[in-house]
Symmetry: D2
Subunit: 344 residues, 4 copies
Amino acid sequence: MKISVGILGATGSVGQKFVQLLSGHPWFEITALAASERTAGKTYGEVVHWFQSTPIPEQIAAMKILECDPSLPCRIVFSGLDAAVAGEIEERFARAGYLVVSNAKNHRWDEDVPLLIPEINSDHLQLVKHQPYGKGAIVTNPNCSTTGLAMALKPLHDRFGLEKVLVVTLQALSGAGFPGVASLDITDNVIPLISGEEEKVQTEPLKILGKYENGKVRQQKFAISAHCNRVAVLDGHLECVSVGLVKPATSEELIESWNSFSSEPQQLELPTAPQQPIRYFHEPHFPQPRLHRNLDKGMAVSIGRLRACPLLDWKFVLLSHNTVRGAAGGAILNAELMVKKGLV
Amino acid sequence: MKISVGILGATGSVGQKFVQLLSGHPWFEITALAASERTAGKTYGEVVHWFQSTPIPEQIAAMKILECDPSLPCRIVFSGLDAAVAGEIEERFARAGYLVVSNAKNHRWDEDVPLLIPEINSDHLQLVKHQPYGKGAIVTNPNCSTTGLAMALKPLHDRFGLEKVLVVTLQALSGAGFPGVASLDITDNVIPLISGEEEKVQTEPLKILGKYENGKVRQQKFAISAHCNRVAVLDGHLECVSVGLVKPATSEELIESWNSFSSEPQQLELPTAPQQPIRYFHEPHFPQPRLHRNLDKGMAVSIGRLRACPLLDWKFVLLSHNTVRGAAGGAILNAELMVKKGLV
Amino acid sequence: MKISVGILGATGSVGQKFVQLLSGHPWFEITALAASERTAGKTYGEVVHWFQSTPIPEQIAAMKILECDPSLPCRIVFSGLDAAVAGEIEERFARAGYLVVSNAKNHRWDEDVPLLIPEINSDHLQLVKHQPYGKGAIVTNPNCSTTGLAMALKPLHDRFGLEKVLVVTLQALSGAGFPGVASLDITDNVIPLISGEEEKVQTEPLKILGKYENGKVRQQKFAISAHCNRVAVLDGHLECVSVGLVKPATSEELIESWNSFSSEPQQLELPTAPQQPIRYFHEPHFPQPRLHRNLDKGMAVSIGRLRACPLLDWKFVLLSHNTVRGAAGGAILNAELMVKKGLV
Amino acid sequence: MKISVGILGATGSVGQKFVQLLSGHPWFEITALAASERTAGKTYGEVVHWFQSTPIPEQIAAMKILECDPSLPCRIVFSGLDAAVAGEIEERFARAGYLVVSNAKNHRWDEDVPLLIPEINSDHLQLVKHQPYGKGAIVTNPNCSTTGLAMALKPLHDRFGLEKVLVVTLQALSGAGFPGVASLDITDNVIPLISGEEEKVQTEPLKILGKYENGKVRQQKFAISAHCNRVAVLDGHLECVSVGLVKPATSEELIESWNSFSSEPQQLELPTAPQQPIRYFHEPHFPQPRLHRNLDKGMAVSIGRLRACPLLDWKFVLLSHNTVRGAAGGAILNAELMVKKGLV
């Protein structure tokens, strides 16, 4: 029997991705769709401005939208809520005993809330014991730009130590939600600002890569500088990264550390886990958003163009699907990990 | 009476821009259009795949295309030739006594050839005396990505000293010439490689900002790291820059050094010179390619988003029109400088 | 001394175009900018999300925004208001003695309101005498897709008679206002519906080409079928047209009827009038939005690809700038005509 | 055991689609990849500029490219050759006993060659008996714009009779092959000409819908007018269609005729056949290229916006995937039909 799950903010950009990825999921079954009061009572199909390239599953389209109230008929709620409202609503659900798997930023920095990427820090899940929510709990996944970066940094951090990271992102439109970026603003253009994004990219990896000790996560201290841009791409964040390492490394060692990287989700064979979490491309013009964002169901991170950096030690390009690996898919993987670990 | 000028590679992307910018020029008159043998003898209008957003001037469209042979009826030749052929042809013209104002890379690193940006290094023009071409000469302008960067760095270099520069470019399609980038490659996509570009951006500023002494240019030594990307923008290269400076500076001082920057082309009132070569925007989401590439006839460099860099000292965004300031417009400004200095 | 003008809905897409085109106008001077209550009291520069490719004129940026109240310090108001509010506000201004030159649809079908294109039906201006507004008056310009079509049809109608018109439009993003079309909806896509648009295109030309007789406009009766699409183009509506004519015509006659078309705005030398209102291109792949939308300051209509239609008589392609000729520029031309005719 | 197949022109746009669709095909196995002499001898992975959004299958990437010579180790050849060379090469293969399933235009109008869409005219396959190729044969599929149109017209033709068809296409970039349309030509633009396309759309449906009698196909006679445009969409041709019918019909009858349409490929359960070949969408803004091109593996035709046409009887919008249904997928369906009918 499947585990019942609900989606908070089901009509939004991330909500739609939750619907798409959870339809046909082997463990989970969508039993509740919740959104704003304004839409509650109507069917999902009537209300949603669906812009995924596969059709809305018919039984989902026929479901009535409920209010974001902790009376939803499900055990887990996936939250794609806007940060303006997510904080309080998610807490209410946790207090009412739900497992809240959130993509919102509000609780990411709570001391007892894991900022979770199962390949990197599944031990942070222990934080949940310290939460005041009884049977309920909140776990979060990072910002969409952080996720791909943290994945690429993890093997380097483990083997060679990180000292400095400089990253410039070229981020996709779907990261801004719907309606998000106006076509008049982005056609034949780049927008060199994503409000609040650089702060997240500069800090979240430090918690994610932090050490769990004595019931707490001790953050890393290396320096990160980020510059975030919006470009005219539908899905897939591309990031140009320069890194300074503690120990010397050859390019072969770096590539090997990425290609051989495998972790708990792969060992546990979680349904949403990519087979090979990181893939290095030797073609000099790869990775590219349109060509590689869907690699391994959109859950793998693609890397390429490793070369010496005249300022730091190495530079490279990475690509990660922002609404799959960096949002809904990442959250679902978090939930799968918790199920497998007996936390649900 | 106007000075007669010819355009080598007149049908290409840069060649078209030369035609557009030289039509109606107060000092210069196009008297020769030269291109490949295949097109020679036909009219420009028949042959060119014109993609500028203003019509081809009628008298230009009716001109016969000539071969790239040093028998063109003109005093100056502007070269928009492809690097595959530019080197030798330009030399032949110089030897025959023409002033060759080139946008091609071939002669940029010749010891006696200035890599010229009139606002930065007009004294490098003295190199021309050492050229073996008699009445003829070759001057070059830098790569389209270098130009905007070098302009933004110049005031910082003069006042605060440069130690380190890291730049990630988001470059426009017109930089690749015509047909250039296939629409199937760039639609809903980014290409994280522009072949040979990073090398140019990492080295050209060192010569441009170099010191002319004893008949030679002594290069600067600071470190530059570049990562170059192609994005779906028609014109205008955006660059995300982090810099490390020798002396401490406040953001006000940096902004003031840009906004107050003015140089010889402004003093000489060269026709193509921008009134204010660098303009800082305080709006947090500026500059943007579509909005600011045409600032001051496409000859001004726009800067914005100055803020502290957690790794180096400062970071900011710059924008410069790649086929105007960074190619044809820059070359025309070079020619104007030479005329005013009595070198023509 | 210039005539004082105000702009209603000054921050919107059409409002911005009014600002851009009226800045530096030889007859008119912007003395009032009005927008929603929410923005009133702030400066234009603070409030507007400017997305034109030339900077906001500085003195305009510093102007305080006023409410859309008939106490504006000006003689003429240009209305770029949304149809949801335009109807009543415009009437209030007319009653208070203002000349209202509107781009909104609300009053286009009032019996005593001209639906004006100066090149086509300047005699319809006589309707104004029958308006109940005293010194005030309302004149309207047509929908942005109608304008280019009506211009192209006018010479055919006069010389050969129109029986049938079938038009399929490929309309630009700026026609939807700001924020308008979401980038997630139009990237790598076409939207084959523009709500309410087909009805306008199917009816407005019948009034525009109608005959003014005995104080009324008698509509034309020919049949028009329209299909309207939104495409990923910033400015410039392209239309594929098939026409059935009453009298036989050769392609030479049709082309000559377009190229030689000239009318009152040209004779009166109105400042915004294009020199040649319609231009036929013989190049088989012309006209194109990006290349030709700015022809003659964006006020000329471009036509090409005339060829026999297997179903009706002839087919061709036309292009017209939707926010210039089809909105703000068209409205300004209407005002210029009224000034020259002594109606202001 | 699978049937061995080869691909002619395997590196091109259609060739890549053949590779993608035939990999993992239940009946066919790719045993030969052929392309230009220049590439012969190298591996497919070295040579192809792959731009599909799924990776090249590894065993395909490792295959050596062969010359387009009738010595390929396979029974069927799929031809994605350019029309400049396809005619003669395909004949040579047919004479050598291969079954040639071609996407090229060269033999479409041969009297003894079927222009085949299995849902429409599978009886035309009988023409093959009259071919002079012995064991070999040539069958063709129509132009990519014709296919979707012919599918949509088929049920109308059968039930209500067709008199007149006017179609305006908005065609995707992939239809032009690779490199095809330059990004500088199509960004922020529409190209209102696709050379040779209108002639195909105006004639091919007449053969496809023709009647097979006495060893010949008798063409239909109704009039078709086409206008073809290129828009900035990767895949999926959208078409705006107006039709005049012989018999009166209600919109319900038309919609029902499309939704209930099913034919031989469905009955024979051909692997590539869509379950429901035509799907009508009631949402007023559907179908759209990005949302619906992949419907039913890209083999279904989507229709929407049926409404009365003021000139003809009805108008509607259709969408069809140009490189799947309109090219490689259509050709594979043709081959499947021939296998099932015992012709291979």
